[in-house]
Symmetry: C2
Subunit: 120 residues, 2 copies
C-alpha cells in the first residue's frame, strides 16, 4: 500500500487506486449516471427521469463533478432552444466498464442484500 499526497489538496490522500476510483464514482447517483449514459447520450431532463428520486440540484452537482473529473462530456448544440447533451468521455467509458463486474455482483446477490438488511 502506498500513500499519495496531492500537493494542492493536503487533506486528500489516496491509499490505493481503489480509494481514488471510489472518490470519483462514489455517492448514490454517479454510478447510475454512468450506467444511464453508457447506452447513449442524454439531455438533463431525460437523465433525471431515468434516476427516480434525484433532485435537480443534486443531479446538476454530480454532473459538474463528473465533468470536472473528465468522466462526462457536456455538449451544447447551438440551436433554438439550445440543446445540451451529456455523454461519457472515453475515460468515462473505461470507468463504466470497470464498474460492470460490481453491478453484476449486486444483481446476483440482490435477494441476499435485501434479506440481511431487511432483517437487520
Amino acid at each position: 500500500m502506498y500513500v499519495l499526497y496531492a500537493a494542492h489538496m493536503p487533506d486528500k490522500v489516496y491509499e490505493c487506486g481503489l480509494d481514488a476510483a471510489i472518490d470519483v464514482v462514489g455517492g448514490k447517483w454517479k454510478p447510475m449516471v454512468l450506467w444511464a449514459l453508457a447506452t447513449c447520450p442524454r439531455r438533463f431532463g431525460a437523465l433525471r427521469r431515468e434516476l427516480p428520486g434525484v433532485s435537480e440540484k443534486v443531479l446538476t452537482q454530480q454532473l459538474r463533478e463528473l465533468e470536472r473529473d473528465g468522466i462526462v462530456h457536456r455538449a451544447v448544440h447551438e440551436q433554438v432552444p439550445p440543446k445540451v447533451e451529456y455523454s461519457l468521455t472515453p475515460l468515462g467509458v473505461t470507468l463504466e466498464r470497470a464498474l460492470a463486474p460490481l453491478g453484476e455482483w449486486g444483481e446476483q446477490h440482490l435477494d441476499h442484500i435485501v434479506a440481511v438488511r431487511g432483517a437487520g
Copy 2:
C-alpha cells in the same frame, strides 16, 4: 431499470444491482478492508495498522456491518488471551474480485484523478 422495495425497510429502494452493491461496499474504508483481508485473515490491530487514519470506532462499525452483510467472518479462537480474527467469507471473496477492475482503473488513472482534483 427496476425498482425493488424491501418489505422491512420501506426507505430502502435499490434501482439496480450496482446500487445495492455500492450500498454494501460504500464508504471510505470498506473496500480497503476487503482488499486487506483478501490476502489473509487479520486481527483487529493488524487491520487497523493497514488502514492509516481509520479510528477504532469507525473500523469496528464497518466490520460489524460487513459481518452482518455476510462479507466478513469474525472468528474467536479460544485461547488466553482470546484471539479474534477477521476474514472474508466466500461471498466476500466474490465481492473483492468484482471490485478488482475498479481498483485497477484507479491505479491506471491515479495521476489524472489527483491532477483534476488538485487543480479544482
